[in-house]
């Protein structure tokens, strides 16, 4: 070919995925260019709050010991909210050290620093507007400044991937495919925060709380909220599908404001001040709507491929590892000097063997099922839990057996038996899928 290549590999997008991809290429002595449109790495990105040790170590090895994190998340809880109260499951382990709360601005800055040290050529402030193709293969990118050429382009441009669309790797998204999330970063005095969340004063540990439901007005709305403690800030956010929001003509900020007033949440954030508001999409396309992951001269990874498990708040680890596998696949193509689609298909094989496509596969129906049973999850069962505990705690000088019998009969009477069967069916299908997954 008569193209003058500027690099062996071009990576578009300096999120966890792109940085990881560029690292794995550079570590093998190949020339890699990493391009991001933002002025400062990470300044366009937001998330809930934690990155995971295992995936970080796969990419950054012992450097992770110097990660400038704010807290180690070692206490997790899952809470079902009803209108006046909640039912909570909590697990805390002081020896846990696998999730770090760190702001994206600091995370990406730290990752970029290491990537540069290892030879990655980082170009910020530069937007890729299109891909350059020759004889059907991608051979470079067109930016607002100049063109860059390389035999492999790794596309890691995040959830809205314009480049995957341009290459026809993905279909058009529909409102069902996306959760919209809005978040507030709330400043709170460090001591008050530690007292409130029962954290040791050494400032190391932190909590992550997930909340389901909590707003009874919208009975079918499947809504999740999250809370992470950072050093002297709290991240509080909500997420709901674009489809549900459209159905109820709802703005995500209304949900955020409402959940802030919930009796179980408002005391947690009392006295805090909003220092940043942010919003972002979360892909729910999953295994059933997997895009085409490779084509001649290009690979697609991270959020751009819908690699995420929102049930477990896992996304950065999917991004880091898929980026790494994309980088390795590019190296394989370079070794063989063959950048055809069939050579690059090694990427899909690597993904198949990793937790990425295994988890995506075993969770392929979970989100759909949860959405289809959202009324039960967000409304009916929280209501029943409330009734149940009101019986247990009532101490109302009446016989417990009578109460329990009444509860049981109401449980069946209040609900169409077919609905109960549908719930049982949906939830066991999810459980079986995950248990017998790949």
């Amino acid at each position: 070919m008569d193209i003058n290549f500027n690099a062996d590999v071009i990576v578009v997008g300096a999120g966890p995925c792109g940085i990881s991809a560029s690292m794995s290429v550079a570590l093998n002595g190949k020339k890699v260019v990493l391009i991001d449109k933002s002025q400062y790495a990470g300044s366009k990105n937001m998330y809930g709050g934690a990155v995971y040790d295992c995936a970080l170590r796969e990419v950054f090895k012992d450097e992770v010991d110097n990660l400038p994190y704010e807290r180690i998340i070692n206490s997790n809880s899952w809470t079902f909210l009803n209108d006046t109260g909640s039912f909570e499951l909590k697990y805390k382990d002081n020896s846990l050290k696998n999730a770090y709360a760190i702001k994206r601005f600091n995370l990406e800055k730290w990752m970029i620093g290491i990537a540069k040290k290892n030879g990655v050529y980082y170009i910020p402030n530069t937007k890729v507007n299109d891909l350059i193709k020759k004889d059907g293969a991608v051979v470079g990118v067109e930016t607002n400044l100049e063109k860059y050429y390389a035999p492999v382009v790794i596309i890691a441009d995040g959830v809205n991937s314009m480049l995957a669309k341009k290459l026809n790797l993905r279909q058009k998204y529909t409102p069902k495919d996306m959760l919209l999330s809005a978040k507030e970063t709330l400043k709170l005095d460090k001591k008050t925060l530690e007292n409130r969340f029962n954290l040791s004063p050494d400032g190391k540990n932190g909590v992550c709380k997930m909340f389901f439901g909590g707003i009874e007005e919208y009975k079918d709305l499947f809504m999740m909220s999250f809370l992470y403690t950072f050093k002297d800030t709290i991240m509080l956010g909500v997420g709901a599908s674009l489809q549900d929001l459209t159905k109820y003509k709802l703005n995500i900020n209304e949900l955020l404001d409402k959940i802030k007033l919930h009796p179980d949440i408002s005391p947690l954030i009392e006295g805090s001040r909003t220092i940043e508001y942010s919003a972002h999409l979360i892909p729910e396309t999953g295994y059933n709507k997997l895009p085409k992951l490779y084509t001649s001269g290009a690979l697609l990874a991270g959020d751009a491929s819908g690699f995420i498990n929102s049930i477990h708040s896992e996304g950065t680890n999917f991004a880091l590892i898929s980026g790494k596998l994309a980088g390795e696949s590019a190296l394989f193509a370079l070794e063989n000097n063959d950048f055809s689609q069939s050579t690059l298909s090694i990427y899909k094989k690597k993904l198949d063997k990793s937790f990425i496509l295994k988890d995506l596969y075993s969770y392929r129906n979970v989100i759909d099922k949860l959405h289809s049973r959202s009324k039960s999850l967000s409304f009916y069962y929280p209501k029943k839990i409330k009734e149940f505990f009101n019986i247990i705690l009532s101490a109302d000088c009446k016989s417990k057996s009578k109460h329990f019998r009444k509860f049981f009969f109401n449980f069946i009477k209040d609900r169409n038996i077919f609905e109960i069967i549908k719930d049982v069916f949906a939830f066991s299908k999810c459980a079986l899928d995950v248990f017998f997954g790949r």
Binding site: T174, L242, K258, A279, H280
Partner: protein, 98 residues
């Protein structure tokens, strides 16, 4: 919550965000489609309240300066009327605490 209260709430929150604003818009709408649109999804879906309808003309007003670049409007618009792109390099939202 009243729509007006939500708008005010969003405006207060947007004031916490740093932007590097471009002088030209990165969001374009096909006004012809908007004139025929009943849902007006863009006017309630956007977390930054970028869109509103001009009562007199029926056109969609786009306050692109407030955009958080999430991509929701593009996907939710029932008429596919939004020509969506990120702002140019270096422009747009700058999150430091997210």
């Amino acid at each position: 919550m009243k729509k007006e209260d939500n708008k005010k709430s969003i405006q207060d929150k947007l004031n916490t965000i740093k932007y590097n604003c471009d002088s030209k818009t990165h969001l374009k709408v096909e006004q012809k489609k908007c004139l025929k649109c009943r849902e007006k999804t863009c006017t309630f879906i956007c977390p930054a309240n970028v869109y509103s309808t001009d009562e007199e003309s029926g056109y969609t007003i786009v306050q692109y300066e407030n955009c958080l670049e999430c991509g929701a409007c593009k996907i939710a618009c029932p008429k596919d009327a939004i020509d969506w792109d990120y702002p140019d390099a270096g422009y747009g939202v700058i999150y430091k605490n997210s």
